[in-house]
Structure formats: structure tokens, C-alpha cells
Assembly symmetry: C2
């Protein structure tokens, strides 16, 4: 058994079932191993950003890692933007990165790159095994490391992959997430008992249903608000689940929302800061007079922390919540609001929403509080091009659940190759493209630096016109059935069709 | 004048005319500056790999840098694969990379990344100015540094970009490339006078017409062969220009071609090594008994070195060369060979070919020795997804020349967004897609590791089928006129149409 085969068997032993792949020559031994050894399902992405974004979506929904297969430094670089997002989402991922044979590196062949230096940019777990025999053990350690909510970047030199005489490793125990200390629980309880304005500020696993229920217990007894980070990795929401506040994206609005707080108990995220700096505006969004109390960080057991806090404060179950009302569906020319109203009303039970709608979704997030229960996945790290591949990965992880991708057009272009993988794997994804033909967020940001009426050169960098993208053609070119709509009625018809059938569909909404 | 405006004026002072851009929030000051100050033409790419690949194509043809405008570490990462290629091509490029305000970095906002660490992966020239006032000077230094055939990675913190009270810098002198020492010329002359089998092994600027003419002088007097590196950045070839040998891509063939050599005089490249390592095969491609003599490296004056060598050896002009014959154009079902035969016969004078044809072009490279004079641009660093954006950049640099992109389908997917920029800028590019629906090179490589009959799982990672890509739809979706052909006659008709009109066109060849 060669190193590649031993690695593959070890990854399978450790529970990995899916490998999102875009291999090259230095990974051919691994391709051959996947071919020979049953138990690992390979899924091809036609660009590495698809591969890594899909692994992120998979990991968020499966709560365990997929493997990726990437080609040297440049292949890894193509996947780095979505690995940045996955890092911010604390998603478990095991990246298998092929490298040249160890003795070939000194020759500086054209594709030679410093792979460990690339890999170190997205993770503090980077390993190049010291021998072929060491690959298998490194593989199971990578899986265990990833389960702490991070990426394991395992670099496999080609000559180790082809060396015979290797043995697979057995899975090693996955460490439980650390429990928070009693001192932290006491401190959080003190904050919340103060009778001053307080909030629970939640992210990460605190936004799973159990975490939210515990948070609502606490809030119902203490009067604390519950606010979640702007772009959570996975938020369980919809009818019957606690309805909580979302922190606004723009710093001015966020500061305003938080301005009266005296106590903020943070769980599964960090205290909120502005995405970008602006002249004369603060970077931290809470008031100076607000006391920040970290209950659990992103790698600790956040749900247990919230439940322990509620128990410690001796708080009973919260009374039932009255679900908010569904939005009305308007008629006539389509708008971003009408899109959301239709989807919120027609959302199937237990759907997954991959949201990269950017400005088009900015004012409709709350519509979905009243929708059927669902999981909501966001662009966690701000590196655009995540929505389509995260939908791919979520659909692979949850083949029995409908996935809906709310997708801005500009962001969609970065990883448009995802559509092909949806078609290839017949994934049950409905992509809704908001075609407003601009980087609308940048029009806003340009205004914020004082350019109210941009000239031709600035507009040429912010508008996706001349020509306008035709997403129906692009999708059809990659094998995905697609329709274009300009009215709410037409959108509703197409969306109903998509919800009542299986397989990938794209609906282009002209805004 | 703020830092962004001072930088822009300085870059214009230093001769930069074009900025390939994919900006984000942290670059809005630079967008505003481009809007306000005439002299810099911005060209939007809908993905950073388009931006950096276009800058590579531009720099190769203009022999001076374009600027790029990139957004933080993740935006830079999206462009890194083509920056790797550009590094291997020794292309001058000035990357302007926006970063957070200096005081914002410590807050670890979602898009925060270690931008200098990213930038260091593609260049040893990485600079973050120490103040707003220092930006302008750093800008002109970046241009000068790039002219030595490398990338200058200039990181601009947002707060420096918006700080007022800055002044532009004047251009600084561009250092001439270093002349090689007389000792090197004497050593090369000795090698070539030995009467043993010898060759000139050429890359870089040695492959410009003047360099090739000097090489042919030397070869005609000494009997040395002239061989060029597999994937040159820019080779001037066609009727009336010296016809030289190309080193084969596969190591076995390359070793065979070089096996009798006793002396290799290397100019503008490094002595040839195998792209990848294979068990039991050597990484260096020259025989152990061959003496390697480096005449000029990639950053020295390679053309002057060859001319000085010819003069030193007192060699007269070479006798006229008999041009090779054009290939016959076959009839019937299209093949990769027929595509090349048609293009070689119909190539307009002074065209530019961006070649990322991979296996489909492997056996037809020589056809073009007999074509009208042209420039041939290759995938220099092996990071696929370069052919389309290099065509973009070449067309921007040379608006009066026809650009033809010979493009493998698998590689084309990586930066398919290039098509939109071709349409937006009405670039005179004819894209010829070889649609063989597979990563054919990887089928070959898999066979080389011993898998002659790959099973279903391996084939799923190497074949671009189920569904097959429809490049006509994809191109039309981005505004590029496109046709599909299955016969040589149809291809010839479409290619003639493309050559007799201006603007972007795509021809999908079904193989």
C-alpha cells in the first residue's frame, strides 16, 4: 500500500466520506487511490474556489469535515478566499494539498511554490509529514484537529504518495469542545442581573436551536436582548424558533442599535467591530460604557455554556413565543422585497438558505423569521464568491433538504463554476440571482467616501453593464435549467416549480 | 490632495496608463481618485484572476507595467495564480493592494488578513508605506522596481489613502538591465567553439526577434542548435524569423532531445528541468556529461548578450533562412490539427497568440513557424486559467493587432469571467475553445502513474462531461458572440469571419 492509499484509508477510518477535488499531476496517486478504494465520494469542482466553498458548506451542515484535494500553492491560492470565509465560520475542513516530490523542490520547476507558506495563511494547523509512513497518522490527526472548528492543511509530497509499504492509521478520539469555567458563568450572570440594559451577543454554535432556546430562557427572565452577529455561519430560524435581532452591517446603524447597552454577554463570536474603518468613526460598535463579558469563544462549548448559565440563574423554560406574521406578497414588477416575500411564504420545511444576497437582501432578512423552520448560512468572512459553492456543499451534506441560494450577481461571478457541479451532481439547489447589474454595496461605499455623483471612470468599476450579464445563458452553458423573471407573478410561478421538483434550477431576477 | 490622489498622479507620472481593477470598500479612495484625475484608464475584471492575468498579458506586450487594484488579502489571493505565472514570465506589474486602516487591523474585522504575507508569496518587492506622505514615492519606486521584470506589491492602508496634504512624486529613472560580464561571453564562446554538440537554450527576451537573429548568427557559424524553453512568455516567430526547436513538455521526450549535447549555453531562462517528478526519472533534463554555461539570466540584458557573443566570435550575418511550408488544411470532421492548420494559414500579419491549448495544441506548435509573423504567449508558470486574461491584456496593450486565444476548455473555466471584459472593452480577440470535455493532460498523467483504465471515480475527476460545457451559451451570457463548429469547413468559415471583423468572438470547437 502506498502513501496515498494509506492516507485515503485513514481518512475514511476517521469518518470522511466526501472529497471536493480539483487535482493536478502531483495528486494523481491520490486520484488513483480514490479510484481503487471504496468509501470516499469525489466531487469535481472546475475551480478551486468551488472546492473550498463547497467544503465550507458541507462542514457547516454536517458538523464534520469533507476533504479537499488541491494542487500545489497555486491551486490552494485559488481556494484561499473561501478558506478565509471558512476560517471565520470555524468550519471543520481537511485540505489535502499535493506538492512536488521533496527532492524536486530545489529544481524550481515552473509550478514550484512555498506550499507551507500558502497554507499558513488560512490555518495554524499546517503539516508536511516527514516520511511516507507518517502520512496516515497525519491524516487522522488532521481530521481530529479540524473537528475543533478549523482547517487542517495537510501537504503531501508526491514521492511520499507513491512510496509503497505504508499502513493506514486508525481514527483517533475527537476532543470534546472545552467547557467554560464556572467563573465565566458567574460573571455573565452578574452582568445580566444588573437591571441595566443588557444583551446576549451570539454567533457560532450558539445560533443552533438549542443555543437559541437557552438564550431565550435567559432573556425572558432577565430582560436582556438577544442579538446575533451580522453574518453567522449557520443560524437556525423560522416558525417556532426564537426570533432574535440581527446586528446591522453598517457601523453607524450597528452603533445606534447598541448605544444604550451597559452589558454585553458574548457567546460564540467576538464583540462586534465595524467591517471597515471610516474617517472619524469608531471601529468598535459598543458604547464605551458597556461592559463586555465573554461567556464562550468560538471553540468552546457554546450551547452548554448558555444552558449552564440559564440553569445557574435558575431560570425556567421560556413561555411560548408568538411567531411573527408572514410578509404579504406584492404584485407587479419584481423587487428584491417581493423575491424575499415569495420565498418566505413558500419555503419548504427544513430548507437551507445560502445567503450571499448582499444589498438585495439587506432589508428582507426579518421576513424569514415567520417562514418554515430552516438553516441560514451567511458570507462569514466578507470574501465574495461564497454563496454558490456553500450551496453545493450544503446540498451534498443534506441530500433530503431543499437548498436555496440567495445570490447577488456580482458575487456570483467569482465562483460561477459552481453551477456545473450542481448539474453534475444533480444537487437539489434553487439559485435565485438578484441581477441588479452593479456592485451595489460599492456604490454605497463610494458615496460614504464623499463621491455622490461618480463619473464615468468610477461607474465603469462599479456597474456590471455594457454588457449586462445573462445568467440564464451562463447557467444553461453549465447544464443548469434557468429562467428569467421580471414580475413577482412570474417569480412565484418559477419558484413554486423549483420547490415542487428536485435538482438544480436557476431563476434570474431582473431588478 | 489625499494619499490616493497623490499615488495616482505619481503612477501616471511614471508612465502607467492602465489599471486592471476589482476594487472593494478599502479601495474606494483610489476609485474616487481614478474618477477625478485624468490619465489612468480603469478596466474592470469580474474576478481577480482576470485582473492579474490581464496585467501579465499587458506587461508582456507593452514592456511596461499596468497597475492592478486589488482588495485585501482575499482579493489578492484570487489573483495569485496568475501572479505566479507572471512571476515566471518576469512580467512588470504594479499591484496596488488596499488594506484596512492601520489602526483597524487590531480589531480583527471579518476581512482582516495578513496582506504583506500574502503579497510576499509572489514577489520579493512588498512595501507598505509608513505614512500617507510616503505613498507617492513608493508608487514611483514600485514602477521602477517592476521594470526589472518583476511584480511590485504596494499595500495601501485605507487611512493613508484618505489623508490630505500629500504631494505626487516625479518618476524616477528606470535602471537599465545589467550587461553580462566579458568573462561570461568568453566562457560561452569557448563552449560553442568546442566542435562538440552544443545548443543555445533560450527563454525570456532572447526570444524577441533581435535575440533570435543574433542566436541564428551564432548557430549558423558554430553548428549549435537553438532550442527554446517549453513555455516562453513571448516568442516572436513566423515567416522571416528564425525557426528554432521547442523543448518538449514531457520529461522523457525532452531528455531524449537533449541527450547528445555536450554544451548548453543558457540565455534568459534556467537550464531545463522536468515540470513534475516521477518515480525513478531524473528531474534535470540535460545529460550528466553536458556542460551548462549561463550567458544571461532573466533580468540581465539577454539580447545584448547574444549580440555581444556573436560580435566577439566575429560572426557575420546568417544567410537567409528558407521558411518552412504551411500545413495543408484537411477536410471533414474537425480535429485539433485542423484547427491549427486553418489558423496558421489564415493568421493575420502581426497577430498575437495567447496559447493555453494544453494537449490540444501539443502536436501543432510547429505549424506556426510558417505563419505570418506573430507573437506567441504561453502559460509560463503552469497555473491554469491564464490564456483568456492574457489575451485581454495583450489586446489592451496592442489595440491595432488581432489577438487569438488558443484555449483548452478545462483551463478556460478558471477565468471564464475574462469573456465579459472582452465584451465590455470590445477587445479584438478571437477565442478558440478546444472542447474535448476532459482534463486530457491528467488522463495522460494518470496513465503515467500506472492507471491505464481508470474507474468511475477517477474518471469523474478528469472528465468534464455529464454535463458537457456549452461554451456558446457561456460566452453569450457574458456578451461575446459565439459559434460552435464540428467540421473544418465550418471552423474555417467562422475563423475567416472573425479575422475580417473587429471585436470579441468565440468559436467552440467540438473535439
Amino acid at each position: 500500500m502506498n502513501g496515498a492509499e494509506a492516507l485515503l484509508k485513514s481518512l475514511i477510518n476517521a469518518g470522511i466520506e466526501v472529497c471536493f477535488a480539483n487535482p493536478g499531476t502531483s495528486e494523481m496517486q491520490l486520484v488513483a487511490a480514490i479510484d481503487d478504494i471504496p468509501g470516499m465520494y469525489p466531487i469535481l469542482g472546475l475551480f478551486e474556489g468551488v472546492v473550498t466553498g463547497a467544503a465550507d458548506g458541507y462542514g457547516r451542515m454536517a458538523d464534520k469535515p469533507a476533504a479537499t484535494l488541491l494542487h500545489l500553492g497555486s491551486g490552494f491560492a485559488n481556494g484561499m478566499a473561501n478558506l478565509h470565509n471558512a476560517k471565520r465560520a470555524f468550519t471543520p475542513i481537511v485540505n489535502i494539498i499535493g506538492d512536488h516530490a521533496t527532492y524536486h523542490l530545489a529544481l524550481d520547476a515552473p509550478l514550484t511554490s512555498d506550499v507551507p507558506a500558502y497554507a499558513a495563511l488560512t490555518s495554524d494547523w499546517v503539516r508536511t509529514p516527514e516520511s511516507a509512513e507518517a502520512i496516515a497518522r497525519a491524516g487522522v490527526e488532521a481530521v481530529a484537529a479540524s473537528m475543533a472548528g478549523r482547517q487542517a492543511n495537510l501537504i503531501i509530497p508526491a514521492n511520499y504518495a507513491w512510496t509503497e509499504g505504508c499502513e493506514p492509521a486508525k481514527a483517533i478520539a475527537i476532543p470534546e469542545p472545552e467547557k467554560v469555567s464556572p467563573e465565566r458563568i458567574v460573571a455573565a450572570a452578574e452582568s445580566l442581573r444588573s437591571a441595566e440594559p443588557s444583551c446576549l451577543f451570539l454567533g457560532g454554535k450558539a445560533l443552533r436551536e438549542r443555543g437559541l432556546n437557552a438564550a431565550r430562557r435567559i432573556a425572558s427572565a432577565t430582560g436582556a436582548r438577544i442579538i446575533h452577529e451580522v453574518f453567522p455561519a449557520r443560524l437556525q430560524r423560522g416558525r417556532g424558533r426564537p426570533t432574535i435581532e440581527r446586528l446591522p452591517y453598517l457601523g453607524e446603524f450597528a452603533s445606534n442599535v447598541l448605544k444604550d447597552l451597559k452589558h454585553m454577554v458574548v457567546v460564540g463570536t467576538q464583540a462586534p467591530v465595524s467591517f471597515f474603518a471610516y474617517p472619524g468613526k469608531p471601529g468598535t460598535l459598543w458604547p464605551d460604557t458597556c461592559n463586555i463579558c465573554l461567556l464562550a469563544d468560538q471553540q468552546q462549548d457554546q450551547i452548554a455554556a448558555l444552558e449552564s448559565l440559564a440553569d445557574y440563574m435558575d431560570i425556567p423554560e421560556a413561555p411560548p413565543q408568538k411567531d411573527p406574521a408572514l410578509p404579504n406578497i406584492p404584485k407587479g414588477l419584481i423587487t428584491a422585497e417581493a423575491v424575499a416575500a415569495v420565498i418566505a411564504n413558500l419555503l419548504p420545511n427544513n430548507a437551507i438558505i445560502s445567503d450571499e444576497s448582499q444589498t438585495s437582501g439587506a432589508f428582507t432578512f426579518e421576513y424569514f423569521d415567520a417562514a418554515a423552520p430552516h438553516d441560514w448560512l451567511c458570507l462569514t468572512g466578507g470574501a465574495i464568491g461564497q454563496g454558490l459553492p456553500v450551496a453545493v456543499g450544503a446540498a451534498v451534506a443534506c441530500p433530503d433538504r431543499k437548498v436555496i441560494n440567495l445570490q447577488a450577481d456580482g458575487s456570483a461571478m467569482y465562483t460561477n463554476q459552481s453551477l456545473w457541479t450542481m448539474a453534475r451532481e444533480n444537487l437539489d439547489v434553487c439559485v435565485v440571482i438578484y441581477n441588479n447589474s452593479r456592485y451595489a454595496i460599492l456604490n454605497l461605499e463610494l458615496a460614504r467616501v464623499g463621491v455622490e455623483k461618480p463619473g464615468e471612470r468610477a461607474r465603469s468599476m462599479l456597474e456590471l453593464t455594457n454588457p449586462r450579464l445573462d445568467w440564464v445563458s451562463i447557467a444553461q452553458g453549465m447544464g443548469v435549467k434557468a429562467n428569467r423573471v421580471t414580475t413577482t407573478e412570474a417569480f412565484q410561478f418559477q419558484f413554486e416549480q423549483a420547490m415542487s421538483s428536485k435538482g438544480p434550477r436557476l431563476i434570474e431576477v431582473i431588478l
